[in-house]
């Protein structure tokens, strides 16, 4: 009968649906498409590194370490990144000395001391908004405050405020919100029971923070700080605003004197060399990029290793 063949056919179809291949073509294709976006991102990264390396190799082979030791020059065969590296190292000192303690202090206040008052909510919202302010706006801030307003303090004669001190303070202020936010996250990850145990034996709040909270949050704080440093290393726009020059630096030597003198940084030099039309300068720029990216990767790698080494799950 027709009815029974229909039943058999239906039974067969149900059997096939239950026992057959579980994968459907639509999902597989969709998944492949999504994966492709990630592969594309990886490919772009590889092409970028490949391009930079290919452009940098000839000049590195030809001149080797000389790139590192020579300063800015309008002759490509003499151009190097020496003062850029020195300048960037100086800027890192500002980040470590100013942004780290201020940022960690602010985060400790927000997470450990602040109650949920209106005032504290304003500070909190303010910090989050500061993190979204474009770098170039920090550059304008640095220009208005450190270069124009405080120019006489931040720089020596003939520098007009466009000194290493102005640049360093600007960069430190720029990364401050990042340090605060990552530190606050690390502090929040420390379980409350640890603090309560400290209070239970009569410790004051600061004693609890110093002996329990900070040591346990240290890996997270360190990771965040290191990442902020990597960010500061590559930042260019604010430095251009506060007047980072490209070269011909007349440094009087010493460690403190350069603070009030004109300065440059590695990314600023890369910018200057990239803008030059001659292909020889592109090679010098590529060599500078290789040094900059290598340093940033190392710094990031340190942060990731620190995180993996000390990360604790509560």
């Amino acid at each position: 009968m027709g009815g029974s063949t229909a039943v058999v056919a239906a039974r067969e179809e149900v059997r096939r649906a239950l026992m057959g291949r579980r994968r459907d073509l639509g999902t597989t294709l969709f998944q492949l498409g999504l994966l492709l976006t990630l592969i594309l991102a990886l490919a772009i990264l590889l092409v970028l590194l490949g391009q930079v390396t290919a452009k940098a190799l000839p000049v590195l082979q030809e001149r080797g370490g000389q790139i590192l030791s020579s300063s800015y020059s309008s002759l490509a065969e003499r151009a190097g990144v020496r003062y850029g590296i020195i300048g960037s190292l100086y800027l890192m000192i500002f980040v470590v000395v100013i942004a780290f303690p201020l940022g960690i202090g602010a985060a400790v206040y927000m997470e450990e001391y602040a109650r949920d008052t209106r005032f504290n909510r304003i500070i909190n919202a303010n910090i989050r908004n500061l993190a979204g302010v474009p770098a170039i706006v920090y550059g304008i801030l640095g220009l208005a405050i450190f270069v124009e307003l405080l120019g006489d303090v931040t720089s020596g004669a003939g520098v007009e405020g466009k000194s290493l001190l102005s640049g360093g303070l600007t960069i430190a202020i720029m990364v401050l919100p990042i340090v605060i936010i990552t530190t606050a996250e690390a502090l929040r990850a420390v379980p409350q029971s640890l603090r309560e145990a400290g209070f239970g034996v009569g410790a004051t709040r600061w004693e609890v923070i110093r002996s329990h909270v900070l040591p346990n949050a240290a890996p997270g704080i360190l990771t965040g700080s290191v990442l902020a440093m990597a960010r500061a290393l590559g930042e260019t726009a604010p430095l251009i605003m506060v007047g980072a020059v490209t070269g011909f630096l007349a440094t009087s030597g010493g460690f403190v004197e350069p603070l009030q003198e004109r300065f440059t940084a590695l990314p600023t030099l890369i910018f200057a060399y990239t803008k030059k039309p001659q292909p020889e300068f592109q090679e010098v720029a590529a060599a500078g990029i290789l040094i900059l990216m290598g340093t940033i990767f190392l710094v990031n790698l340190t942060a990731i290793l620190l995180r993996n080494r000390y990360e604790r799950k509560w």
């Binding site: 999504l34 391009q51 001391y113 706006v137 004693e207 260019t236 910018f271």
Partner: protein
């Protein structure tokens, strides 16, 4: 005697319960120090606002005629043409191109990581995005000018100029992609598993579940990711300063294949290089005006995006 009692920790009299005055004093000092560090961040915001408005007011006061702000010539500060609409349109073109790159790449990567990748694959794939995020913008600018422009843009569109908005926009998009991916992935990750299980229980496959259940459930977070991406793209400076051209200014135009100037690039061009015209006339101060517009635009985009993020938190 009281000192000895407090250091040994034993309570000898009722007075000791109030605690050691030195410990209390230290507590107050530490608290005040930490508070002032937090207050310092508010001072930074105030300084930004004052620096920007001060310069912007200076600029407007130096203008002979407010009509110069809508000068028909476009944005050419050196010849006293300050049509901010021209550089606004420039920023808009670059941001739109950037989002055309960052939205599909970022959301695709986010959906793969959140819905399809196994934990082991995740651990390998996520660092790719993090590494892409750590590429300095000056390096991406170099890449946009020396690779994307000649090898991609000019080979697809032979009439394109060497400095063009398309190459800069693609570069900005690549830099914004990791940010979009990370915020969107957080949003999709926050969708409760019960929703997915209910969908599977009704017989929906993975593709249907992720596009018809997870995506709509995470849509406010995804919107936040895209808005944040636009905000970052508008504020991006070095890539456009290097690759978009238009170093002296721009007219209002929508052609992505020729050079253009964005708001951020206009600021750097004014503060540095050949365009530096200190003192005389309003030109130098005009970048404060552009700066405050940029600040207000990114701030309002960030606030909107934050509101969307808060909406997911309330839902789940």
């Amino acid at each position: 005697m009281a000192e000895a009692a407090s250091t040994s920790g034993a309570i000898r009299s009722r007075g000791d319960l109030r605690g050691d005055p030195r410990r209390q004093r230290r507590e107050r000092i530490v608290r005040t120090t930490m508070l002032s560090a937090a207050v310092f961040s508010v001072l930074i915001s105030l300084a930004i606002v004052f620096a920007l408005t001060g310069g912007a007011v200076d600029f407007v006061r130096r203008l002979d005629d407010l009509g110069l702000l809508f000068s028909p010539q476009g944005w050419f500060p050196r010849s006293n043409a300050f049509d901010v609409r021209a550089i606004f349109v420039g920023s808009l073109i670059v941001s739109i191109i950037a989002m055309l790159v960052a939205a599909p790449l970022g959301l695709g990567a986010a959906m793969y990581l959140s819905e399809f990748a196994k934990p082991r694959a995740r651990r390998f794939l996520k660092p790719i995005l993090e590494t892409l995020a750590s590429v300095p913008s000056v390096v991406m600018g170099f890449f946009a000018l020396r690779f994307i422009s000649p090898e991609i843009v000019q080979s697809l569109f032979p009439q394109a100029e060497f400095f063009n908005a398309l190459a800069a926009g693609i570069g900005v998009g690549l830099l914004v992609t990791p940010l979009v991916a990370s915020v969107a992935e957080d949003a999709m990750h926050a969708v409760p598993n019960a929703l997915r299980e209910a969908s599977f229980g009704l017989g929906a496959r993975r593709r249907l579940t992720s596009t018809r259940v997870v995506f709509p459930a995470a849509v406010s977070g995804i919107t936040a990711a895209l808005i944040l991406g636009i905000s970052r793209a508008i504020g991006e400076t070095m890539i456009v300063a290097i690759a978009a051209g238009g170093t002296s200014g721009t007219t209002i135009h929508l052609d992505p294949l020729v050079g253009t100037q964005t708001m951020t690039a206009a600021i750097t061009a004014l503060a540095t290089g050949s365009d530096q015209v200190r003192g005389a006339g309003p030109a130098y101060y005009s970048f404060f005006f552009v700066g405050i517009l940029l600040f207000l635009m990114t701030l309002s985009l960030n606030l909107i995006s934050e509101r969307f993020v808060r909406r997911i938190r309330r839902q789940y």
